[in-house]
């Protein structure tokens, strides 16, 4: 796989994420559902990869597994060269703290905290000083265009603004991997577009590997690579290059 443009600066060598023959099933009552069945994939560093597919096909499960939130039944997941299967709960937490950011459909912001505090909160656990945390948080909020509203609580923000705060929270950690699960599904078209642009810019500007799960077709044109999923398998793997190039040119 060749990097399509010189602007995408990959960190290190090899894929950022690699799954080999992973399987995952759930048992509820007597019913056993096999969600993922021997799936393999490899995600390149610094790319914005989109996984699309119908609801219930296992996208969220795949994302949770690749990000170290959920264990596999069988198979092997390597993230940033680290075999996640060999890590215990605490080591996984540490790995996520150092390397991953998350953005969810439901924002999941603390109602009591203003935007700045939401972003600062995880940074303290990263061991940053008060000043460093404040600095990084304001910087991230600036990057998503939330500086003017950084002292407002979630209750005073629109859905799109909340999602931008959630992105800033993930971004402020300077993660190598950013996972986004249906980040635009709760938003209207215009706000969805803003979020898509921000995710795109993060992949380009920071060289962050962005893995986005969505059935939102608007995202397709911004992705470096689109994986279509159905019934726990990857059906197609394409690179819709031209629009991504255009968009990249605009931000660069």
């Amino acid at each position: 796989m060749s990097a399509p443009a010189p602007l995408a600066a990959p960190r290190g060598t090899g894929p950022a994420l690699c799954a080999e023959a992973i399987s995952k099933g759930f048992t509820s009552g007597k019913l056993r559902t096999q969600v993922l069945d021997g799936l393999s994939l490899s995600i390149d560093t610094g790319e914005l990869t989109l996984i699309s597919g119908p609801s219930g096909c296992g996208k969220s499960t795949l994302l949770a597994i690749l990000s170290g939130l959920q264990p596999v039944d069988s198979g092997c997941v390597t993230a940033l060269g680290c075999d996640l299967g060999t890590l215990d709960d605490q080591a996984l937490e540490r790995f996520r703290l150092l390397h991953t950011g998350f953005v969810f459909q439901g924002f999941n912001l603390f109602p009591a905290l203003d935007a700045l505090e939401q972003v600062e909160l995880p940074l303290h656990y990263l061991g940053l000083s008060r000043r460093q945390a404040r600095e990084r948080a304001t910087q991230s909020l600036d990057e998503v265009g939330m500086t003017p509203r950084m002292h407002l609580r979630p209750g005073e923000l629109s859905g799109g603004e909340k999602q931008r705060v959630a992105i800033a929270r993930a971004l402020a950690k300077h993660p190598d991997l950013l996972f986004a699960d249906e980040p635009t599904s709760a938003l209207d078209a215009a706000n969805g577009q803003v979020i898509i642009d921000i995710l795109h810019r993060i992949a380009r500007g920071h060289g962050t590997t962005v893995l986005c799960v969505s059935h939102d077709p608007r995202l397709v044109h911004h992705a470096d690579r689109v994986l279509s999923m159905e019934d726990g398998r990857i059906l197609s793997d394409r690179r819709p290059a031209p629009p991504a190039l255009l968009s990249r040119g605009a931000t660069a």
């Binding site: 969220s60 994302l63 540490r94 998350f102 009591a112 995880p122 993930a170």
Partner: protein, 377 residues
């Protein structure tokens, strides 16, 4: 550091209010229950804790003041001869039958004979010197103000005890006891009311005050080993009081009932506290799960929840304390026996705080078991 626990508590106080109220009520219930139990049981030791005697001398094996038996009157001289003893006072206990001025039927009462002169030891902390002095009058008695209705008398009324006329010269406060009505009289009056020939001229107890009360233990041991005066035993006031309370707790079945009730109160408190606090904490479970996804460890999240539980407990207990003090004052004004001491209060507070902490952690267990992927959608 972002003060997540406190900011959430303040901003979403409505969500935590049920938990605060629950902890408060659980604490209040425990506190009032403890106060009642202490009140009831300490009234079992009333004669001892309400008196200034350092030593009690009575029949060997006596379990409680109300179970005393007559002892050798010559013991009084034996006690007075001991250099450590400063004062000795006989205590006559008469089981009697009461008929009041209004027709309330016969009542069985305890007549307590004491020395009404200034410096008397028995019930010196319960009855004022002026009130005691009135007992010097022949056939004078004092009743508790909470018993006047039951006895059908008021101050100045005449009643009949064991067939003899007595006159109520005053009402006391805090004379109520377990298992019967206390009537206080002078030793002379009490002796006149005595009908049991075995008790004629024989005191039920002898009370002694020591010149150095801290020596009570040694003096009791010394006085105990003298067999010239028939059967008797000597206890320090604290040992005898403990003996009386333990008798009521363990041998009457009352203790088992109280422990059972305390268990129920604790259980009810535990259930409402844990349910409400778990509900309040669970309201943030998605946000906690997100932090956990971002790598904030369970230990740190647990600390946030514990801090919230602490504040919920503290605020709830503060309210409970204020409300409880009001209730206790009201209970006292109604002559309900309630007693609260610091160790028991602290114990109740500690139990309620522990309940809050455990409930908070139980809510976190819910987060740990939950599949993060199912929370994060």
């Amino acid at each position: 550091m972002v003060a997540l626990a406190r900011k959430t508590l303040i901003f979403e106080w409505r969500r935590f209010l049920p938990a605060v109220v629950a902890v408060g009520f659980a604490g209040l219930l425990q506190l009032l229950q403890a106060a009642l139990v202490l009140g009831i049981f300490s009234s079992a030791g009333l004669y001892i804790t309400g008196s200034d005697a350092d030593l009690w001398v009575g029949f060997p094996g006596t379990q409680s003041v109300s179970l005393g038996r007559p002892i050798d009157p010559d013991l009084e001289m034996r006690l007075r001869m001991d250099p450590a003893v400063a004062a000795v006072e006989p205590f006559d206990w008469v089981d009697a039958d009461w008929r009041g001025a209004r027709d309330t039927g016969g009542q069985s009462v305890y007549v307590i004979g004491l020395d009404p002169r200034p410096g008397g030891l028995l019930l010196s902390r319960v009855l004022s010197p002026a009130l005691r002095a009135r007992l010097a009058e022949p056939d004078a008695v004092i009743v508790d103000r909470a018993d006047t209705d039951k006895l059908g008398v008021g101050v100045g009324d005449v009643a009949v005890i064991n067939g003899q006329r007595v006159r109520v010269v005053g009402v006391g406060h805090g004379l109520r006891a377990l298992g019967g009505v206390n009537i206080v009289a002078s030793l002379d009056t009490a002796r006149r009311l005595e009908t049991d020939p075995a008790s004629f001229g024989r005191p039920t107890f002898l009370l002694a005050a020591l010149s150095d009360p801290s020596q009570a233990g040694q003096v009791a041991t010394r006085l105990r080993n003298d067999h010239a005066f028939g059967p008797y035993d000597v206890w320090t006031a604290s040992a005898f009081s403990r003996r009386s309370i333990m008798y009521w707790m363990l041998d009457t079945g009352a203790g088992a009932g109280v422990v059972f009730l305390a268990g129920i109160v604790f259980l009810a408190g535990a259930v409402i506290t844990s349910q409400t606090l778990m509900a309040a904490v669970a309201g943030s479970v998605r946000e906690y799960a997100t932090l956990n996804a971002l790598g904030v460890g369970m230990r740190n999240l647990r600390r946030v929840v514990l801090e919230q539980a602490f504040w919920v407990g503290a605020v709830g207990l503060l309210g409970a304390t204020l409300f409880g003090l009001l209730l206790l004052a009201f209970a006292r004004s109604q002559d309900v026996p309630v007693v609260l001491n610091l160790p028991v209060t602290l114990l109740c507070v500690a139990v309620a705080m522990a309940l809050a902490a455990i409930s908070g952690l139980a809510a976190m267990r819910g987060l740990r078991r939950a599949d993060p992927a199912s929370l994060l959608r």
